[in-house]
């Protein structure tokens, strides 16, 4: 672990039991996150992409210990936080914050925006009413909605403004790492770019590190320094953003990239659609998770667990067929 790393995750696993019947007999496991490794560098952004149900949000929750991981290590600034109790986690909560997808569901409708943001400050132990009020004003200014709005209620704001409030709340405790769980997916195009710019500006200004979780490869490609592609609880490919988009190797990454319609009518390629649906993570078959939809599948893919192969120092891929 280098000095530049803020968070390192190794072999992270979370299985959810599935029980059925009167005696709640265990009938299997949903392997939501099944051995995930990655590193987030200080002041940088790691993009975590994948389709719905691939375990990307669960990964975010595990890092914050909002869910208890089953296995693996999470090293936050030289400290393994996996075994920490909720009490021991408390001081670390100031360091790691989360921004949610739905800015409507994540703000308390009965609290003014000021009160919502102040809540975090109180937990941080900022004493003095006036101090907290100034902090709130500063935060609102920082996210671009003006301090005068502190006494308004969430319903008085538009979606984009609410997302800004969500960001102000996360920033209130001066975190170093922010987990952004689909922060722009619910927003309109013109608002989306405002929020992306804001996140970028804040990162430059405050030296924040982001784990940016999204299903949108174009947004991830724009904002991230490193990208991890996830499928059914496994990381399929992991590389710096430029490398991943210029030299994608895994058949799943290729499929994702070619499925995005480009905003250029002259570039009308037939969208190469993957056959089939995203399979359920319930009792996945042995071998490669992608075997059911993969165009390159062979017997070996169905028989053995496929490991992550190194393409070069920074680029790894979970497919034995594409490595030279």
């Amino acid at each position: 672990m280098t000095n530049n790393t803020i968070l390192k995750v190794e072999g992270l696993k979370k299985y959810f039991p599935v029980r059925r019947g009167f005696f709640q007999k265990l009938i299997g496991w949903i392997k939501a996150v099944d051995g995930v490794d990655f590193e987030i560098y200080k002041g940088k952004t790691l993009g975590l992409v994948g389709e719905s149900g691939c375990g990307k949000s669960t990964t975010g929750m595990l890092i914050l210990k909002l869910l208890e991981p089953d296995e693996g290590t999470i090293i936050y600034q030289d400290q393994d936080i996996i075994g920490l109790s909720q009490d021991e986690m408390k001081p670390l909560r100031k360091e790691m914050q989360i921004i949610f997808q739905d800015p409507f569901g994540s703000l308390n409708p009965r609290m003014t925006v000021g009160q919502s943001i102040e809540e975090g400050l109180r937990a941080l132990g900022v004493k003095g009413h006036v101090d907290r009020k100034t902090r709130v004003s500063n935060l609102l200014e920082m996210v671009g909605i003006g301090p005068s709005t502190a006494d308004f209620y969430p319903h008085e704001f538009s979606g984009g403004q609410r997302q800004r409030i969500g960001i102000a709340r996360a920033l209130s405790v001066k975190p170093s790492l922010i987990i952004c769980d689909e922060p722009v997916s619910a927003l309109d195009v013109s608002i989306q770019s405002q929020i992306i710019n804001l996140l970028k500006e804040l990162q430059a200004q405050l030296g924040l590190s982001y784990l940016f979780i999204s299903h949108d490869l174009t947004v991830v490609g724009y904002i991230s320094d490193t990208v991890a592609v996830m499928y059914l609880g496994h990381i399929m490919e992991y590389a710096p953003a430029d490398e991943l988009y210029d030299n994608p190797l895994h058949p799943y990454t290729l499929a994702l990239l070619s499925a995005i319609p480009t905003p250029d009518p002259d570039d009308r390629h037939e969208l190469k659609a993957l056959a089939g649906d995203v399979p359920s993570p319930f009792n996945p078959p042995p071998g490669c998770r992608f075997q059911g939809r993969c165009p390159l599948v062979e017997a070996r893919c169905r028989e053995e667990e496929i490991e992550l192969y190194k393409v070069n120092e920074e680029h790894t891929v979970r497919c034995w067929k594409v490595i030279r």
Binding site: S52, G160, H215, Y222, A255, A259, P261, P265, A273, D277
Partner: protein, 333 residues
Amino acid sequence: MDNILLSVQDLKVYFIGNERVARALDGVSYEVSKGETVCLVGESGCGKTVSALTILRIIPQPPGKIMGGKVLFNGQNLLDLSKEEMQKIRGNHIAMVFQEPMTSLNPVFTVEDQIQEAITVHEMVDEREVHQRCIQLLKDVGIPSPEGRLKDYPHQLSGGQRQRVMIAMALACDPDLMIADEPTTALDVTIQAQILNLFQELQQKRQMSLLYITHDLGVVANIADRIYVMYAGIIVEQGDASNIFHNPCHPYTQGLLTSLPSRAKRGSKLHSIPGTVPDPAHKPGGCPFHPRCDFAIQACGTEFPRVCDYGEGHLSRCPVLYENKVPKVPKMT
């Protein structure tokens, strides 16, 4: 022209509440020719869905009220028809696919029941034939082993399959026009690609017109013949796909295109349109876009912008850009 299948003319729809009147559509006109794919693009609340619901006359009235305009379908004004006559148009001639397949399918009926209903409402056919047609429809929309799926309930299907069932229902009576309202927004990219390919394949096979409503410019560029860009209840720009994407002549269209993130723009700041979409009950006077517009002059706040013609059916409601020949935005990369 007799090639025009649907022509919406100066349509005005208001939603009237106790204290406020939301002007959802403020004089919208567009046309769909036979066999053509037309995209309505705009952000949430711009009125694109309301205009589709008005074509089928399924907006709730009250609070909705059609204040004026015409919806000509094959030359016939749908707004003049009686309820019974309208019922014959819906499904039979114009069908609609909605965004959220889970809420538009009835959870307590099987797939077969629901497709069957769409057929038997409009046609007298015996049970055997209906069954055969259900299987054929599911085959057409690419559902594997359709015989087995017919007895499934919606919750047993995946999101993509549910949307395919919705499309099968819409196709049941071989409509001339299919209206698709954000049909892929709730789906994953790989599934979205499947559904988009399906639309194109079906359209070619059946010579159907498609009115596609979306906010996703990537999707638009991929399927549209012609595009209408909507903002706050009016059409701000219209033209064919290459005009809109390569030579946008309204500041809003330009803003939308330049605010799209892409990997090529990494490291540079994204362009963004300041402010937010106006509340339809408190729309600014003059050009509704002027408070957010970089090119706004004083007249924009008072005068409703006229339509400027750039030729080849490329129209834009921005006289400021038209008269000043403001430089075009750089080509998208």
